[in-house]
Symmetry: D2
Subunit: 388 residues, 4 copies
């Protein structure tokens, strides 16, 4: 018998986990000692995981403080980062120092929507077009049906994309402090049911996703129209400070950006910067975000300029940063502690967290970008990395 | 004073971590109780993290067994998955059952290279072209310089991409069981130094990355030419089995694929499937992979067909799956245990792990894809998710 | 002296053209006999060209009739096509026969807008966001300023895209039967002047294009949001007819589409079909369209299905087809004659022309697609092509 | 009876054309007077067109001279351009003046290959991988089979791309002075027949195109790996000259490039420049190129820098410029005359033509780019355009 053991009465217990670990050890020979060392109450994991066997312990480091001049985060923040890659925390920390000394990073959340994208299927394109016009005229009814399913979510607008005999829709919701994918799924399903019941024309069928959400993957659509929060972090760093702390001039940094832009363009890259995913993943895991959303969140648009004074204006736009301060994994013990380090746990804190992450990402771009130009990239990994 | 405390003598100790936690509590008011509960020896974290303060405990569930017909992984495997998103483990588990009953998943690693992509800068395009010809003629010297820095890495080939007065190179290495980014960085740096010393023509300068690596981000280049391992998982699932277990017919599943492909194409998506990132991230974190590589690894090409018998041929190609069984975070206690559950720890196991992940991802695609069509997507999240 | 001769009094005369031809012959030795053979009145070329020296004679062939079931084009049409590539006309003609016998092609224009995309530059992203909100609130004023410049153009909506300290706008106009690029340019310039004069906040400056138009080039943005007309052509072709006329079964054709889709996706292609640009360019040149708009217009989304009866549903979506029946080169003598062959000259005919082109493109896709599968591609070029 | 008349004995005659025109007039009412005015001998059109009815007369203007510092084109050239869009010739002419005064444009052809991309289909991915290894080992046999079909074409290398149970190949040929699509098709077909006859493993089937050619469409693959000629044009333009002739400073021009790059990146554009397609299409039609190749050729990578002296380094990389000086439409009377104006007709002239086009495109970018910044864009169209 090779079925994973389950406890029908209470599967979220230390005993159920132990039973599964014992089963695995028997089946595979793996000793499961450390995974059994957890302080979370298994009962609190309902809604977070199934077939619970224990925990992974991911090393947690601290960087900062990063100075953020946001609308929701204002001041200096220590940033918890989980990683197993040496140099990462040190590199972000280095960037935080230089931006702090430069007066901090201005961060703005300029858009904030989560999506679900059903598709409606018709006999032909003309009927699909007719439906699109009806939908625009009946947005109030659709919204009412969608919003009846949620206390928090608000349906702000629906985009339409036509191809073949299909009309692809993209519902855009405000979701408060939750990431909101499930909220949007449920609301959009109800909206589709309402549409199907009320549309007077012929409708072949509908499906809750036509793959234009685009959930758990990068897309140009996300870059254009955002998914989650669109966050822009900006900083002006004096040339002298760059030279002193990062060993590059503003001009050398700026020139390399031009070269990197062309490389990214030729590669068809989702991101013309360096490694936004590093900082994002490290904070996501620490704070209980859905780690698969690194897929969307890693996209970035870097733009820099030399100011008239010869200093470096540096900006990074994260068009699809998906963060929550509430729901999902944010309430688990270690994750909550990490959020609390930044004062970002609970309702009303999602944009604050987004601003801190935006600033953090900028710091990492500066640090790695400079290390590459100053030829310190390899040596820093020799110093901090595992393969030394 | 707001500097994070460090211990100059031994910063990788429980005391140093405690001192930093105390500092954070003082600075931010956050109680750091659970993050202090770790069983890893801090001294073992050198090379994995800086400013260590403790751990995040990420819930760990188990799915499977998944039946893999690979060249390196052959048989049934239980798959450890970390997540905080309810339904995820259950959904992958469901797909594992149906593919197991269908006879298992054939998985093949068809390419395997890690990259570093320097750029060489010349007075004009013609000189860059001249350099490219020289480089092709002098590959042996370049290879020798690169490989002198590593016991494991082998420089297999160098690609050239020309734009403006730049020649972008992409060095492709075999890196054994390590992911190999640092190995490639060091080797390529030495190669570039050798080139600069030996190239008889005029060279303005070189930089170790021209952004065509493309590290920690998605790119069309990665999809075309792989990054890490190119893994193809395939399965034929009988129509009757699909109907019984997943409540969709092979034909309905197949038709929806056509609609999803168009949606993905219009969106400019990195992935025409559903949610590969979910399975990848969950196994990556459990097994000590670099979680930021979800950025590259989430890309996928799904292709399905109806067989003459009316069954479903389903395949997923992961063009840039970056996995290691050695180095990085793979040796940390809980991560190592997770690898051992699958018999994937240590040397000679990276492709085995890649095959298991490829099979796992396929299972998740089937399960979610079917749930969307059968209108069970929202209800399954109501059952397992946090927002119920 | 090497300046091209000009006649200050009347540069649009046969004499001025002859003088320039004589100059070129003197300078380059080229005999310019055939280019001098034109029947157009040079005086009629004001606004179409500068430094006029004569004409190119492009061979003109005729295909059809194509049976179109459109809203503007209904019935059978002969389609004039200019080309120098043997096989092209024959291939489109072949496709027209089979679709005619299948009952014709349903074509629908589902969107119709021309764009101009200025960019507004601010001190930082937050000010850019503030401007975006103001713009939404002041759309009436913007529209009034824009529409004051044109009898025809209507400003329907403005899209906003934020990055760094910039707000990129995309003005979308209805332009009647003209392609409308110049109309949109002039209207948007006036709108920007009005904005700059009325915006109460700080604005660094604006530029009439931030490169998101995206004029004379392909973009994912065009594919998503259309440029010019979004045209969808659809047809159901009986299996027996496909076998008889094109020597492929519906199933073989359909299976190959799946393979071609994956190829296009991996390549990062603007078009998952075969050669829409061939038909588009051939009709564009014949009818006086701006031939550079082939850059945008060549993008296509092909979707096919097997019906329950085993026949082939085939559709092609042209998301950015830019056509005019008025203005530009549509009034030149040969071009006008070509439009008149289709009853498409003058006001109120642009959508009719778009429908005929959509149907024509579909025919070419069928014909070439089948030839590739039936292994008749090379032999047909041996028969009709120049390299026989 | 509605069939287009054909003459079985000699369809390439003035009489056959007249008969078709009469037919069209009868069927559609269109008077076909001007299309009948041609000087080309119909008998010479075999291999260029079918169902010949006459010609389109496309206005032909002249720009230049453009000063080209190429390896094949060296000196000053007058460039024939066909267009119906006022301002186009004048704008390119303006750019030619300023670059001439700046000392000319350096142009380099850095790659030169035409492709055909068959796909091979196997039972599964592993067999496809096996085939790929065999193919690499048997390249000599493949090459011999391919090259037996052509005096000119040389098979340089084959790229492999794996997905699902398919191996997509991309055959890269040197094709001399012809564009070479048909040559590559025939050669690759023979190669595939040889492969199918000699491959010892199991092969389900092959198809001559798997859509990775990517013919008559833009693709990221073309941008990365070229299609036709990869041409890089470069120029340094003194700041004072820019100010005097184009009314912008080098710095203003350069700053706007940064903004345009971000716009292009967000849009997912095939080209971060302005309007390469305009110049390319105008010269293509004049010189008998395949006008549908504007689809591929319009892609461009613009890179500019400010020199230490404050002047503007400006470059444009055309990664997929498809031009011929021989074959196709290059021998038709007016087209040949246009080629002769530039000394580009016949064998050994294709790269010369490519260099002149590269330089021409650069001039158009400078002129339009400056007009946008100097706010002269709309006014120039008011002066020269049709809608004045």
């Amino acid at each position: 018998m090779t079925r994973i053991p389950r406890d029908k009465d209470n599967d979220y217990s230390a005993e159920a986990a132990a039973s599964r670990r014992a089963f695995l050890t028997e089946q595979t020979g793996a000793a499961l000692t450390h995974t059994a060392r957890f302080s979370v109450d298994p009962d609190a994991l309902r809604g977070n995981i199934e077939n619970f066997i224990g925990v992974c312990q991911i090393p947690l480091g601290i960087a900062g403080p990063v100075k953020v001049n946001g609308e929701h985060a204002s001041g200096e923040f220590y940033v918890p980062m989980t990683t197993t890659e040496g140099t990462l925390v040190a590199s972000y920390n280095r960037g935080m120092r230089v931006t702090r000394e430069a007066g901090g990073i201005t961060v703005s959340v300029v858009d904030d929507h989560m999506q679900r994208a059903p598709v409606f299927i018709f006999a032909n394109a003309r009927e699909a077009r007719q439906f699109g016009l009806w939908l625009t005229d009946n947005l109030d009814g659709v919204r009412k049906a969608a919003e009846a399913t949620t206390r928090v979510g608000k349906l702000d607008f629906i985009q339409q994309f036509a191809a073949a005999r299909f009309l692809y829709l993209r519902f855009n919701y405000a979701t408060g402090d939750a990431a909101g994918q499930n909220m949007c799924g449920r609301a959009t399903r109800e909206a589709c049911l309402w549409i199907a019941a009320n549309y007077p024309g012929a409708l072949e069928r509908w499906v809750l996703s036509g793959n234009m959400d685009t959930d758990k993957k990068h897309s140009q659509l996300n870059t254009l129209h955002s998914r989650g929060k669109r966050v822009i972090a900006e900083c002006v760093i004096p040339d002298a400070l760059l030279r002193e702390r990062l060993h590059v001039s503003a001009e050398a940094f700026f020139r390399q950006r031009g070269i990197s832009n062309i490389g990214a363009m030729m590669a068809g890259s989702s991101n013309n910067g360096s490694h936004a995913a590093n900082g994002i993943a490290a904070v996501f895991i620490a704070t209980g975000q859905d780690e698969a959303n690194v897929a969307e969140s890693q996209s970035a648009i870097v733009h820099s300029e030399l100011t008239e004074q010869g200093d470096l204006y540096y900006s990074i736009t994260l068009p699809s940063l998906i963060v929550a301060s509430y729901g999902g994994g944010t309430g688990l013990p270690t994750q909550r502690e990490c959020l609390e380090i930044m004062g970002c746990h609970g309702q009303g804190k999602a944009r604050k967290l987004a601003e801190i992450i935006g600033a953090t990402v900028l710091c990492g771009e500066l640090s790695l970008g400079a290390a590459v130009i100053a030829d310190e990239w390899v040596s820093s990994h020799e110093q901090y990395g595992r393969n030394r």
